[in-house]
């Protein structure tokens, strides 16, 4: 081993500039690969953080329009969920897969305080929704069981909505305990929640029973939400959805196969899609990175070819005194892999350093989207697995780069090599 490295070192030493220039191309390729993947990871982490608000096993269901005739009824009929659907969802039929069930009903109204007003949607909900949707209360409290039982006229609103009712610079906590007008009625503000761009800014929470009674919703339910359990695979999720849809559809005299009679939004799918998106992004970045690296590889291959040509006479001498073709090939391949690996590692280190720098700069800066602060990059950087993969890529690349030059060195006959200058 030491002999081989001595030989490589001797060869590289004689061509410092050439080796450094080509090495730079390899470093650059790997550097780009690492930075791209690191930034991509940061971007994906930032997306993931945005959707952290929901339990990944939550399902939301709402009414839709039928898309096929059934049981003597035409297509295009409006389906509205009602309390019977809640009973079914929470009932024995789906006992295996449904954990907690909550429902909401919504209406829209103008919300005002003194001279300030905005139009909002009022969601009548149960306290359980707080856990399911991970609603974070900033001040005060969320809707509780007593509110439900007493049909109390209380609301909880997000910070962004509260700001609409207040003078600039007034803390949103001052709104707690105040009465605001919702439509024609006065509601007491009992809580302020953290704004969430996924839910919108103008959604107020009120007790389910209050909204239903006040706004005459009767048996009607806006949406049913529930958390699932025991659905670990995509397949299981799909099977469950199919079964669930047909059960609800049949209750409303819609075809069990009708996909549009009710809509089911299963977050498990979204999770899968998110992962797919992540994979696509990562694959795209790998491809870009590898193509950048390819430039470096071609460079290494090129200088190895020149090296082989320059050293043909020397190889002739070596072969004459007993070097086998493989001895010579080994020399070229080892040199190629060494150059690629050394400069590749340099590039990898620089890339990781840059990722750290990105974390310190861009990672700390945020942009404001819909009143919410979003970090552009969250923990950019690559893991050990990527570093190992990149190492593998480098070794394969070095071997590939050395392959054609080495083959030429292998094939040249000693008698011709000795004649070469």
């Amino acid at each position: 081993m030491r002999d081989i490295f001595t030989e490589i070192w001797e060869s590289i030493r004689r061509n410092k500039l050439r080796t450094a220039l080509t090495g730079f191309a390899v470093s650059w390729g790997i550097f780009m690969l690492i930075v791209l993947l690191g930034a991509g990871n940061g971007l994906m982490n930032s997306f993931m953080r945005g959707s952290e608000g929901f339990a990944t096993n939550s399902v939301e269901v709402g009414g839709g329009w039928t898309s096929m005739p059934y049981d003597g009824l035409k297509a295009g009929r409006r389906i509205r969920l009602d309390e019977g659907d809640i009973t079914i969802t929470a009932g024995e039929l789906f006992d295996q897969n449904v954990d907690e069930v909550t429902a909401s009903v919504s209406t829209s109204a103008t919300v005002s305080l003194k001279d300030k007003s905005f139009s909002a949607s009022i969601e009548g909900c149960f306290p359980t929704i707080q856990d399911m949707e991970k609603i974070e209360v900033r001040y005060g409290r969320f809707i509780n069981q007593a509110d439900i039982k007493g049909l109390r006229k209380v609301v909880v609103m997000p910070e962004s909505a509260a700001e609409n009712l207040l003078k600039r610079g007034t803390g949103t906590e001052t709104l707690i305990g105040q009465y605001i007008n919702v439509g024609n009625l006065a509601y007491k503000v009992v809580g302020i929640t953290k704004s969430d761009r996924m839910r919108g800014n103008n959604q107020l929470y009120a007790p389910f029973t209050t909204v239903k009674t006040v706004y005459g919703k009767g048996e009607e339910v806006g949406t049913i939400s529930f958390t699932t359990k025991g659905l670990t695979t995509e397949k299981a999720n799909e099977a469950f959805e199919k079964q669930y849809k047909s059960a609800i559809n049949l209750r409303h005299r819609a075809s069990p196969d009708d996909e549009r009679a009710i809509w089911v939004w299963n977050r498990a799918h979204q999770d899968v899609q998110m992962n797919q998106g992540r994979n696509i992004l990562q694959t795209a970045l790998w491809i870009i990175g590898i193509f950048t690296l390819l430039g470096g590889i071609v460079g290494v291959s090129n200088i190895m070819l020149i090296t082989v040509k320059e050293r043909t006479h020397e190889f002739g001498i070596r072969k004459a005194i007993g070097a086998t073709p493989w001895d010579i090939t080994k020399l070229i391949l080892a040199e190629s892999v060494s150059i690629t690996a050394f400069f590749g590692y340099l590039g990898m280190l620089l890339g990781m350093l840059t990722c750290t720098l990105l974390d310190k700069t861009l990672g700390q800066s945020t942009i404001t989207v819909m009143d919410e602060q979003i970090a552009m990059l969250v923990n950019p950087g690559v893991g050990l697995d990527v570093a190992l993969e990149a190492t593998l890529v480098l070794i394969v690349a070095g071997t590939l780069a050395g392959f054609f030059p080495a083959r030429r060195a292998f094939q040249v006959r000693p008698i011709e090599a000795l004649r070469a200058e």
Binding site: G316, R318, K319, A320, I321, G322, A323, D327, P414, L418
Partner: protein, 240 residues
């Protein structure tokens, strides 16, 4: 017989077929000091390449020490060259970025001899050729004669059956040429090394014990030259 050539033919097919060796029959015994002499184009270099297993021949048979050398793979050929043949070239063919001692070590490196052992052996051989002080010098720091002696040390280090010298004095002045030829003669006499010298200089050929004349791909005269009186010019010195 150490070397036995039987009706060896070689034709180059570069456009116009060129029949270079037209049935060579030659025997060389162990411990002989032979020169192969001929004008350029006579086929002497081709013959040397075949003797050195650097080139192959079309028909005939070539034995070294009773072993048929024919249709070898590159790997086998390399192994035979390494163990049985030592080369001395006109242009020395030392590796420029290696020191004298590293150049001498190289054949042992390809035999897989350990670093320490081969360094020690290389130093011994350099010492025998009076170059111990030059061991860590690079070829471009040495004179032609010194370089050729390093090359001789490299040829000797594997203790080969045959030393093949291709115009060993071609790049040297007459004084150094004589020294090199004397050195080869001395090795032959004192250590019984079989040496074959290819040359076109009669003075060089005159230093050897047997002169094989080759002309147009055929061996002509084989001259017994143990008295070293073959050349009128060669009796006292090598003419340049």
């Amino acid at each position: 017989m150490l070397i036995e050539l039987r009706d060896v033919n070689k034709t180059y097919n570069n456009g116009q077929p060129l029949h270079v060796l037209k049935g060579i029959n030659l025997s060389i015994d162990k411990g002989e000091f032979v020169s192969i002499m001929g004008a350029s184009g006579s086929g002497k270099s081709t013959l040397l390449n075949i003797l050195g297993i650097l080139d192959n021949y079309d028909t005939g048979e070539y034995y070294i020490d009773g072993r048929l050398i024919k249709g070898l793979s590159e790997k086998q050929a390399a192994a035979y060259r390494n163990s049985m043949i030592g080369f001395i070239f006109q242009s020395f063919n030392l590796i420029g970025f290696k020191t004298a001692v590293e150049n001498v070590e190289l054949p042992l490196f390809y035999q897989g001899v350990s670093r320490q052992k081969r360094h020690q052996m290389a130093m011994q051989y350099l010492d025998r050729l009076g170059l111990a002080d030059w061991a860590s010098h690079y070829p471009n720091e040495m004179s032609g004669g010194q370089k050729q002696r390093v090359a001789i040390a490299r040829a000797l280090i594997t203790n080969p059956k045959i030393i093949l010298a291709d115009e060993p004095t071609g790049a040297l002045d007459s004084k150094t040429s004589e020294e090199v030829m004397q050195l080869l003669g001395q090795l032959n006499r004192e250590e019984g090394v079989t040496i074959i010298v290819v040359t076109h200089e009669s003075g060089v050929a005159n230093c050897t014990d047997k002169i094989v004349h080759i002309k147009d791909g055929i061996i002509g005269r084989i001259e017994d030259n143990r008295l070293h009186k073959a050349s009128v010019f060669g009796t006292s010195t090598i003419m340049k």
